[in-house]
Symmetry: C2
Subunit: 105 residues, 2 copies
Amino acid sequence: MKKIALDQTAKFNEQAPKLFVLHESEYFKLINFNFRAGQTLPIHSHDIEGQLSITVISGEGKFLAEGGKTLPAKAGDILISDIAEKHGIRAETEMRVVVTIAPPI
Amino acid sequence: MKKIALDQTAKFNEQAPKLFVLHESEYFKLINFNFRAGQTLPIHSHDIEGQLSITVISGEGKFLAEGGKTLPAKAGDILISDIAEKHGIRAETEMRVVVTIAPPI
């Protein structure tokens, strides 16, 4: 059992999103991404089994999907995606998300 | 790919925590628990493989552990626990959490 406090990782980069691997086990991996307004996690996918969730902790932006599609993303929104499906994030304000990947990549 | 909006499940029960199964797949299960102040998810465990995370979305209380131990739990705190380890939650204010269980129970 361990506790992670996201207020300890509220750090940002000016050049690219800042990421912290919060946890990794044989069951899942947790990553915190912190974006400045305008930064993106470019749309991508990995050709492997599994799913991920992207939980927006604060701020807002868009979830990015195949074919230029977007979905509004704000605090309290969660995107579920297969790892093999195209997904990404674009921040419109300062934005913090936690990604859970199971099984871990 | 699907989006879940936690503002759609901001509902509470007076008698016991209100829960919503947000997602279930072969990879993980996501459950939203909403507590009124004073409500608890009593300490428990399941004798199976896997881990869970409890992400506090809003409010505050305590994470409950073996032997009466507690850890402060507030928005942005995440508890990681084996499913087989004793864990629970006590809300001290209105409190919302999302639990991810992998593999799903």
